[in-house]
Amino acid sequence: MSAAREYAMGDAKVIPIESARTGGAAQPPSRDREAAAQPDADRSTADRSTADRSVPGREGADRTRPGTRPPAQGRDARRARGPVRPPAAGPEDDRRAAHRRLPPLSALPQGPLPGPAAAGAAGAAAVGEAVGGAADRAGAAAERIADAVGHALAGPLGGAAERLLGRGWERRAANGLAFLRRRITGDYEVDEFGFDRELTEEVFLSLLRPLAEKYFRVEVRGIENIPAEGGVLIVANHSGVVPLDALMTHVAVHDHHPARRHLRMLAADLVFVLPGVNELARKAGHTLACNEDAQRLLERGEVVGVWPEGFKGIGKPFSERYKLQRFGRGGFVASALRAQVPIVPCSIVGAEETYPMIGNARTLARLLGLPYVPLTPTFPWLGPLGAVPLPTKWTIQFGEPIATDVHPPEAADDPMLVFDLTDEVRETIQHTLYRLLVQRRSVFF
């Protein structure tokens, strides 16, 4: 805490360059631990942490503002910092610049190739030094820019920023900086499933929210059926070729639920095989749809979302829209029974028409190892433009919870009961879908 606070307190002239360098990466800075420890959904925590931070900020601003030209101070500091650069940096400027442009590892093989272990290590070390020099310069540059920007904002640009970004931009900027700092230093936490709460809230949900609110205009009903705490299993219908319905449900649960709970989804194994997708899915809190994971999440008291139709539902032709497919083998019911959590049926209307699937390129799908390759009126005929979903109007209805704690946990091994409950959930969702469809004025409004 203290070291970080020092940086923040010091004005532009006392820059602890030396300590920054010698300290190296030894001790991970612990600033904003509280914020990282409980990055709660409610904004109040964030507000509190900003309030903390704005105290040193006020000092700095007071010192720089009256009359003097703050940027000049920044320039002084820059000049003073000049000689602190590593002496080795001088002669090989070009080479270091080259290293900076190249991805560092492309340089690595040059070292190790000719000789045995020693040469390899030496080569790596040499590359290390070169990259280190560049990194130092990058660090210095970042500091200089931070200085300049900070002074500009504190001085002449503050008014412009306020006019442009609205009131409270300082707080948001400070939040953003704190977020950035934690990202740079790796000072954030993930749970055992790899769920990165902060990244999900700050980035994923922020990106999805406009889609939910402005594009699909999702109307959420029955959010009170999700309890404020404790495990609950949300079972929903799946549709629309791309699992947008699952993502929108995540936004709906998080934004509309008073406790700002996160929906932990059980995803198909295909998601975890694909590079890139699996990384994002894990960070957004999804996990593999298997009994072990489902039960573990439910026992931890999470809101778990499952789409038991799977690929049968999401990849069904447009002619079969809103006709629920078979609900797997009822594994989700068994998990809920074992964990003794309620099941909340969820009906999603509007996702079916985002990509009306009128055909399936089976051969191509088999070639690519995908369950289906959709053909819609626009895709693939219009290229990337055809991949834009239609702006349908969505309704997400959470139904009355179905209690499972009236049965003992061992009932999970009773196939008849499991099938009965599965059917009950399925019927509830199907009937709710029909009701919502009757009420719907139009697909798009």
Partner: protein, 386 residues
């Protein structure tokens, strides 16, 4: 008469530390160290410094556990506790994968055979690894001791460990009077641990697999030694120390997080490319970078440690993050100037005018400014302006 503990693999860091620790136990009389070469950590010398009280005697027996000689050693000292730590991923000194596999598998078979013949043996502790669970995208996110991976590891150290555990299970069936404890350690880290993952994290630039950010779990070597010590002694009241236990620190770190905490840059490579780079690293002996390690660095692995906490009765002192922090503190400084970048963001945050008081002046827009500070920074600013 006190216990006689036989420890295999004392020429390695973990074995040597364990010997030092177990010698301080009051009810241990003699510790017999077995390995193909004497420990470079000076176990033969005078009692460990600062121990104050009495320490148990230590005898080093040079023997290759692949040969039946180990039976003679057990009989000679009437050993009652066998701690088998010589199940490792890397060769000791020179020697290839073949030697490692033989030591792991044949060595364990010989040792277990010798134990079965020795009526004095009452307790067996075997070091295993969580890599018996493999690393695959289609497996559950968190492994408990009862879970079987969908596909058994096809080769490498993980397969050795699977086979070793198989032999140990067979042994415990044949000698039900012996208390058997199998400890599945997550990756052991520490300032001086000599594990392949430590070598990987010591690379100046960390090659990673493009599109994957695996979840990792670590256990600090202090905790590993402590768990071994508890397993080698009589169980404390209310706990059991026979059975199979996952040993890992609480919590999870992503590989990207590890890299950032070490301030090391990562280079994401496609899977085929990383196999090539791994071969290169292996050949130059900079680090051991085996195919199974690549799988670990692709899909990651997390185990459940409830059983260790509740049944075994030990909660590691250091969580995964703390264990890694201890390792990072001892590691050489990384190449990324994360400290300075973080300091820059702090200063910028400190210079922001307090909310509600802004001087009236006009100028450039704010987006123009921070955009120069690097792609990450500009990205976050734009995000923040939502």
């Amino acid at each position: 008469m006190g216990k006689v503990v036989l420890v295999t693999g004392v020429a390695r860091h973990l074995g040597a530390r364990f010997v030092r620790e177990i010698r301080r136990e009051p009810d241990v009389d003699l510790v017999v160290g077995v390995d193909v070469q004497p420990s470079p950590y000076g176990l033969e010398q005078a009692p460990p410094e600062g121990s104050g009280g009495r320490v148990a005697d230590y005898v080093f027996a040079r023997a290759d556990i692949r040969r039946p000689a180990v039976a003679r050693i057990i009989a000679e000292h009437s050993v009652d506790t066998v701690v088998h730590l010589n199940v490792t991923a890397t060769p000791l000194g020179s020697g290839g994968r073949g030697t490692v596999k033989e030591t792991n598998v044949i060595g364990t078979m010989q040792l277990l055979g010798a134990c079965q013949k020795a009526p004095t043996v009452q307790r067996l502790v075997v070091k295993s690894t969580t890599s018996v669970y493999g690393s695959a995208p289609r497996d559950p996110a968190v492994f408990t001791e009862q879970m079987q991976p969908r596909a058994l590891p096809s080769g490498g150290f993980a397969k050795d460990a699977c086979e070793v555990e198989g032999y140990v299970r067979g042994f415990s069936r044949r000698r039900p009077d012996v208390a058997v404890c199998v400890l599945r350690f997550a990756n052991i880290v520490g300032p001086a641990a000599d594990t392949p993952l430590n070598e990987y994290f010591s690379l100046p630039v960390l090659p990673t697999v493009l599109g994957y950010d695996p979840r990792m779990q670590f256990v600090h070597e202090d905790d590993a030694v402590e768990v071994l010590r508890l397993a080698a002694l009589e169980p404390r009241r209310g706990t059991t120390n026979s059975g199979t236990f996952n040993v890992a620190g609480e919590g999870v770190l992503l590989l990207s997080q590890c890299a950032r905490r070490l301030a090391r840059p990562t280079v994401p490579l496609l899977l085929p490319a990383i196999s090539w780079v791994a071969g290169l690293i292996r050949q130059t002996r900079v680090a051991d970078f085996s195919p199974e390690q690549i799988r670990l660095l692709t899909h990651g692995r997390v185990v459940d440690v409830r059983h260790l906490h509740e049944t075994f009765g030990y909660t590691p002192v250091r969580s995964t993050a703390e264990a890694f922090a201890d390792f990072a503190a001892a590691a050489a400084a990384g190449l990324l100037p994360t400290e300075r970048l973080a300091a820059a963001t702090d200063r910028l945050a400190g210079m922001l005018p307090p909310a509600g008081r802004t001087p009236a002046a006009a100028g450039r827009t704010t987006e123009g400014g921070p955009a120069g500070a690097g792609p990450a920074e500009s990205g976050t600013w734009e995000l923040d302006l939502r």
